[in-house]
Symmetry: C2
């Protein structure tokens, strides 16, 4: 079997994927003496710095099984890996963390929402719609416009549709329904979006990273400010909701919890990611232990590392592609922006809005950090 | 030629070596999109996470030439690479930084000392001795005991001998003299040892990292406390001497400057390393830009990153082997020491006093950081 080492050479951790999250996990793993294998192709971001590559595709049940045989433990960098394929890995003797059954609940945005509500956690009002009649009912109950979401495989806004009326919603239903209907949500007029990375291990330790503020652009995480510029009580409330959400989702390792904060201060759970998350990248420099190291610690059931910030404020800005073509980042220009920490993902081709990297800056207050990170992203020129 | 890629695939930076310093430089290079190739064997610390390995040995002129052909620029992780071999690489069109002529001066501890004195920088009194008669003279002039050092290839105390009298010195001369005599130094009764990493680039930027305190054990760097627990004026003085020493040595990238602080407060230059240095490892977590990133920035003539500390204090303790055998670090135990940042170098065999890794801790004051790092090193059990 190509790419699969002997039993005694199994990776400590196998990641079902080889993108930028796997890449940054590899960077965190080497100093700890943890070997990470990735499932993917040689030209993907994590491949050149993984301990090994299992050639294949995380969409393939067979390739996920090969990763399982090559690893002592399997984890994820995206939540779309087929839960049945992961359950088979688990049954074959390689633990999968977070667990395949918990992942199955998260993978489906409707069951994920139900799980949150069952745990007493507030979300936007929602229903599942399978027919135009369901949509009409939803429009009456929740009010137009409505947010329609594919139940599975949506990310960064792919699979979402904001629908002003029944005609638009009917078209979106046709497009997004994979057979079990779509998730229909009341549109939330939020004051701000927040996010919290929660780290957990099977022994029962749990830690919430600082509550951060996220700015999305075209449904893609664009900027993060840490900590969020909110009051202490608000922050404590958001952290509690995030911890409860990650617990309800049976998160192991890092769970990214996206939240809406409403004008009245109420906090709703938006979406969960059972893995390190774009809104946690600031932790590499800003926190005592990065989300990538704590993901490894969590899935390996090691004690979690402390998550306090090292400086009062941090900002992270994504490097999103602005054109199509070969990637030629101007590191020389960007490195002249004092205090800018550049993180490129090693993608050779730029596409519009593709995540090519990110920049983090630390400072004594948020605006200063944000100004540094924004300037560096601008001059890097991707 | 094995291991040498096509011209268009040349590494941005080639390192003549593949040890732990190259390994940590690779970790710093990936996020910047800088490809680092290393010269060494597949089982060396840097090999699994370099962009590529040029198979060979930095002792071999031919292999260093192969690294030069495979790279757009060559730098070092040790100062013993033959200066003539590096000069040949430079002549063949691949720049070597720091420059081979400057390296030749540093490689020889006698010419290094002379260079410091020529720049008006204070060192321990020294002479070169080639005969027992020279040693007797030195004993009269400098007083017994004397420190004898091989002029070339000494490190971590290898090549050094403390000699109580002429008989001991005569035996040491025989052992350490490679044909050009040995360096004989007055023994320095220092108050403490200090070190400063200096980053420089060809454009002329220069920055001094915080002055740190180092504790050697059996001539091996064992503990580092950052910043040194000395007054502001003392620290400023030490930093100025270090900057001047690195400039006199024509350092490019990072130069490690080891200093003695005497009881009267006087600071002497002890030794220079034209590369990242063990006493700068604390900078990975503790400083805004690590010594490894600034070494890359410096040799590539990119703007240097800021070097301020993120927390008030840091401590670094080396993980030195205590026995001989296979390396089985207890990361599970060590990771339970809250705040301990574990750095293993991936060496599969332990030997007594071999550098197997290090632990860094940040805190609000030095003693707290030191306690964390020491405890983690103890429980890692190597």
């Amino acid at each position: 079997m190509p790419g699969v080492p002997d039993r005694q050479e199994r990776f400590d951790v196998g990641i079902a994927g080889a993108g930028q999250l796997a890449r940054m996990t590899c960077l965190a793993a080497w100093p700890l003496g943890i070997t990470v294998g990735v499932l993917g192709l040689e030209n993907e971001p994590a491949a050149p710095l993984a301990a090994g590559v299992v050639s294949g595709d995380w969409h393939s049940t067979e390739d996920v099984a090969a990763l399982g045989r090559a690893s002592q433990l399997v984890t994820l960098e995206n939540e779309f890996v087929d839960a049945a394929a992961l359950a088979a890995v688990d049954s074959a003797g390689t633990p999968v963390r977070p667990g395949p059954r918990a992942l199955a609940v998260i993978q489906d945005k409707a069951t994920q929402k139900q799980r949150m509500n069952d745990a007493g956690l507030p979300t936007a009002d929602w229903v599942v719609a399978q027919t135009p009649a369901d949509l009409a009912h939803a429009g009456n109950d929740l009010g137009w416009p409505l947010m329609l979401k594919a139940r599975k495989l949506g990310y960064d806004g792919y699979g979402n549709a904001t629908c002003a009326n029944l005609d638009e919603a009917t078209l979106a239903l046709e497009r997004l329904d994979a057979g079990e209907g779509v998730l229909v949500e009341r549109m939330i007029d939020f004051r701000r979006e927040l996010a919290v990375m929660v780290a957990r291990n099977p022994t029962g330790e749990e830690l919430a990273y600082p509550v951060v503020e996220t700015v999305q652009e075209h449904h893609v995480c664009h900027e993060v400010v840490a900590p969020a510029r909110i009051g202490g009580a608000e922050s404590k409330h958001a952290a509690e909701i995030a911890l409860a959400a990650a617990a309800a989702a049976e998160g192991v390792g890092v769970t990214g919890v996206e939240l809406f904060q409403l004008d009245g201060g109420e906090v709703l759970v938006n979406e969960l990611a059972p893995r390190p998350h774009n809104s946690g990248h600031y932790s590499i420099e800003a926190c005592e232990t990065s989300q990538f190291e704590n993901h490894l610690r969590g899935v390996l059931d090691l004690p979690l590392g402390p998550v306090e910030m090292r400086r009062p404020a941090a900002a992270m800005v994504n490097i999103l592609g602005t054109k199509k073509g070969p990637a030629e980042p101007r590191v020389d220009f960007a490195s002249s922006v004092e205090g800018a920490h550049i993180h490129l993902y090693g993608k050779s081709e730029v596409r519009v809005r593709r995540k090519m990297g990110h920049v983090t800056a630390l400072a004594s207050e948020a605006d200063a950090a944000l100004a540094i990170a924004r300037r560096a992203v601008e001059v890097i020129g991707l």
